[in-house]
C-alpha cells in the first residue's frame, strides 16, 4: 500500500510554529552540495511561495472569520517552511550561480515531468517549455563565464545536465495571445497531471519572480539586459503553465490541492535526498503538511460538503525525481525545436504566414537592436574564441546549432526547412 496523507498523523497545527533560531538554518556548502539537493531546495522554495500567495488571494475573497484565521495560521507555517528551505542557500553562492541552479531545475524538473506525464497535450506543453529553459541555461552559462570566470557552470550543474543551445531565446518572444493553453478537466484528470501542473507552475512562477527582482542588482548592462529578456520569457511560461489548471476548482478545493502537492513533493524528495540533515527537514515539513491537508480537508467538508477522501487519490502517485534527462532532452531537441505556438496550439515556425502576429511581436521587441541573449554569445565568442558549452553525449543533435559564432534564429528556421 502506498502513502496516503489522509491516513497519516501529522504534527498538530499549534505545535508547528518555530523560533528564529530553528528557522535560521545552517546553509549548505555550495562546493559540497549535490546539484540535485540544491535543485530540490529551489523547487520546495517555489512550492511554498505559491502556497502562501494562493492563501493570501483566498483570504482576500472571504470575510468568514473562521476561514480567514485558519488560512492565516496555516499560511504562517507555510511562510516559516519557506524561510527554513530558502535559507539553506548559502550567502557565498552568487546570484548568477543561483540562477544556473534555477535553470537546472527548469530543465531537469520539466523533463522528468514530461517523461512521466499521462496526458499527451500536457506533455507537449512541458516539452515546449523545456526547450526554452534549456536555452536559458546556455545563455546564463555564457554570462557567468564572462562575469565570474571559468569553472562556475560545472561547479553548479555537475555533469548531470548538458549545457548547449535549445530553442533560441531570441525566437521565444511571442505575442501574449499565443501563450494561453488549454486546461485539464478536473473530473477526469489523472492525479499525477494535476500535481505536475501545480509543481511546474510554482517553479516557473518563482523563477519569474526571482529574475524580476535580482535582474537590476547587476551593474553590467549585458547582465541586466539578459535577466530582463529572460524574465519576460518566464512571464510567458507562467501564462503557459497556469493555463493548464481547471478554473472549475473552488477556493477550498485548491487550498486542499496545494497542501496535497506539498505533501507529495516533500515525500518525493525525502526518498531521494542524499544530505541527511536536509532529508530531516523534508521529513519534518511532510509531517507538517499532513496536518495542513487534514485542516484544508475539514474546511472543504464544512463549507462545501465534500469529503476530501472522495476528491483525493487513495495514495500518492509515483514520486517526482531529479535525475539525468540527457537523452530525453536530445530527443525533444531533435524533434520539437522548430515549434512555436499559435493560439492554443503548437506549429512549426516555418508554417507561420508572413503576417503572423509572431513576427510583429518579434519586430517590436527584437527589431533594430542588439538582443541580450544573442549579444552574450557574441561577447563570449569575441573574448574566448567560442561559446560556452558543457556536453557529455556528443555534438548537438541539431547540426545548425553546433558551436559557431553567429545568430541562432536563422539557423533554426533553415534546419526546420531541411
Amino acid at each position: 500500500m502506498g502513502f496516503n496523507p489522509l491516513a497519516e498523523k501529522g504534527i498538530p497545527l499549534e505545535k508547528q510554529i518555530r523560533n528564529w533560531s530553528e528557522l535560521n538554518v545552517q546553509p549548505f556548502d555550495k562546493r559540497e552540495v549535490h546539484p540535485y539537493t540544491r535543485t530540490r531546495v529551489i523547487v520546495m522554495n517555489g512550492i511554498e511561495i505559491e502556497s502562501a500567495l494562493y492563501s493570501h488571494q483566498f483570504a482576500r475573497h472571504t470575510d468568514n472569520w473562521a476561514v480567514k484565521r485558519q488560512l492565516a495560521l496555516v499560511r504562517r507555517v507555510d511562510q516559516q517552511q519557506q524561510k527554513a528551505v530558502n535559507w539553506l542557500l548559502p550567502g557565498d553562492q552568487s546570484v548568477l550561480e543561483t540562477t544556473l541552479a534555477y535553470e537546472q531545475v527548469a530543465v531537469d524538473l520539466t523533463a522528468y515531468l514530461a517523461r512521466t506525464e499521462p496526458n499527451p497535450y500536457l506533455r507537449q506543453v512541458l516539452n515546449f517549455g523545456l526547450l526554452e529553459d534549456f536555452d536559458h541555461l546556455y545563455r546564463y552559462a555564457n554570462l557567468i563565464d564572462l562575469i565570474e570566470g571559468p569553472g562556475r557552470v560545472h561547479e553548479i550543474v555537475g555533469n548531470l545536465t548538458e549545457v548547449m543551445p535549445g530553442r533560441p531565446t531570441i525566437a521565444e518572444h511571442r505575442h501574449p495571445y499565443d501563450e494561453v493553453r488549454r486546461h485539464f478537466e478536473t473530473h477526469t484528470v489523472d492525479p499525477l497531471s494535476r500535481l505536475h501542473s501545480m509543481t511546474i507552475l510554482a517553479a516557473e512562477q518563482q523563477t519569474m519572480n526571482f529574475y524580476m527582482n535580482v535582474g537590476p542588482t547587476y551593474v553590467p548592462k549585458l547582465a541586466r539586459g539578459l535577466y530582463l529578456e529572460i524574465a519576460e520569457i518566464e512571464e510567458q511560461h507562467v501564462t503557459h503553465y497556469e493555463s493548464l489548471l481547471d478554473p472549475l476548482d473552488s477556493w477550498f478545493e485548491r487550498e486542499l490541492f496545494h497542501h496535497y502537492n506539498e505533501c507529495y513533493m516533500y515525500w518525493s524528495f525525502m526518498n531521494d535526498e542524499v544530505d541527511p540533515r536536509i532529508r530531516k527537514l523534508w521529513e519534518l515539513h511532510l509531517a507538517m503538511e499532513i496536518e495542513h491537508v487534514r485542516v484544508a480537508g475539514e474546511m472543504l467538508r464544512r463549507h462545501e460538503g465534500t469529503d476530501p477522501a472522495e476528491l483525493l487519490p487513495a495514495e500518492l502517485p509515483e514520486p517526482t525525481r531529479f535525475e539525468e534527462n540527457k537523452q530525453y532532452i536530445r530527443k525533444v531537441l531533435a524533434t520539437e525545436i522548430s515549434l512555436t505556438s499559435v493560439g492554443l496550439d503548437f506549429v512549426p515556425l516555418t508554417a507561420l504566414p508572413a503576417d503572423a502576429r509572431y513576427f510583429k511581436y518579434q519586430a517590436a521587441v527584437n527589431g533594430g537592436i542588439k538582443v541580450p541573449s544573442e549579444e552574450v554569445i557574441e561577447r563570449h565568442v569575441a573574448e574566448f574564441g567560442d561559446d560556452f558549452r558543457l556536453t557529455t553525449e556528443g555534438p548537438h543533435p541539431i547540426p545548425a546549432l553546433r558551436s559557431r559564432p553567429h545568430a541562432d534564429t536563422q539557423d533554426v528556421a533553415t534546419e526546420a526547412e531541411e
Binding site: H61, T62, D63, N64, W65, V67, K68, P118, N119, P120, Y121, L122, R182, H183, F184, E185, H187, T188, V189, D190, P191, D246, L248, S250, W251, R301, R302, H303, E304, G305, T306, D307, E310, L311, P313, A314, L344
Partner: protein, 207 residues
C-alpha cells in the same frame, strides 16, 4: 449508490470542448453520445449532455445541502438540509442510472454539466461572506441557497419530463420517461422548501 464527487479514479469521463483537454482513455466518442437520440428522433449529443448536467446539479446540490447541515445552528433546519442532501443524492443515482440505461458511462461529465456544477458551486460561495452577515442573516443565506437549488431541481424535473414526451417511441424514450417519473415522485419535498423559506422569513420579521 450515487457518486457525489467525480474523479478519474471513480470513472469520470468527458469530451473535450474548446479549452479542455483529456486523455484519450477518458474521452467518450461523439458517435456514442449521438447514438442515444437516433431511434428517439432527438439530438443525442444534446440529450446526453443535458442528462449529465442534471446529474451534476443534483450531485453538487447534495454536497451543498450537507455543508448547510454542517453550518446551521438550528437543529430542525439541520434535519431539513440532511433530508435535502439525501434526496439530491438519490436523484443523482437515478440520473447516473439513466446514463447507464442509455449505454453511456454513469459518470459522463458533459461540457455543459461543468457549467451546471459551477452554477451550484457559485451559490455555495455565499457563506464566504458570513463575516459581514448577522446570525439570522446567515441562516437566511443557507436557506436561500437550498431553496434556489430545490427550485432548479423542480424545473429540471419538468424539463426531463418534457424531453421524454417529445421523444419518439424507443428505448431512449422509455428510459427518459421512467426516470422523469421517478424524479417527479420526490418534488413535494422541494416544494416544501419554498414554504419553509416564506415562513422562516415571516418569523424573522416578527421578532
Amino acid at each position: 449508490m450515487a457518486t457525489l464527487t467525480v474523479t478519474k479514479d471513480k470513472g469520470g469521463v468527458s469530451r473535450p470542448e474548446g479549452m479542455t483537454v483529456l486523455e484519450p482513455a477518458q474521452t467518450v466518442p461523439l458517435a456514442q453520445l449521438k447514438a442515444i437520440g437516433k431511434q428517439a428522433g432527438l439530438d443525442g449529443l444534446f440529450v446526453a449532455d443535458l442528462v449529465s448536467a442534471l446529474a451534476m446539479h443534483e450531485r453538487h446540490s447534495a454536497r451543498v445541502a450537507l455543508a448547510a447541515a454542517e453550518q446551521t445552528e438550528r437543529p430542525k433546519r439541520r434535519k431539513v438540509y440532511e433530508k435535502l442532501a439525501q434526496l439530491h443524492a438519490e436523484r443523482t443515482g437515478a440520473l447516473e442510472s439513466l446514463l447507464t440505461q442509455l449505454k453511456l458511462p454513469a459518470l459522463y461529465v458533459s461540457p455543459v454539466s461543468r457549467a451546471a456544477g459551477h452554477l451550484v458551486a457559485s451559490l455555495a460561495q455565499a457563506p464566504l461572506l458570513a463575516g459581514s452577515v448577522d446570525a439570522e442573516g446567515r441562516e437566511c443565506m443557507l436557506l436561500d441557497v437550498a431553496f434556489l437549488l430545490a427550485e432548479q431541481s423542480l424545473a429540471n424535473t419538468e424539463v426531463l419530463t418534457s424531453v421524454a414526451a417529445a421523444a419518439e417511441r424507443s428505448t431512449t424514450k422509455t428510459a427518459l420517461a421512467k426516470t422523469a417519473k421517478l424524479l417527479a415522485a420526490s418534488v413535494a419535498t422541494f416544494e416544501k422548501v419554498r414554504t419553509l423559506r416564506k415562513a422562516a422569513t415571516v418569523d424573522a420579521a416578527r421578532k
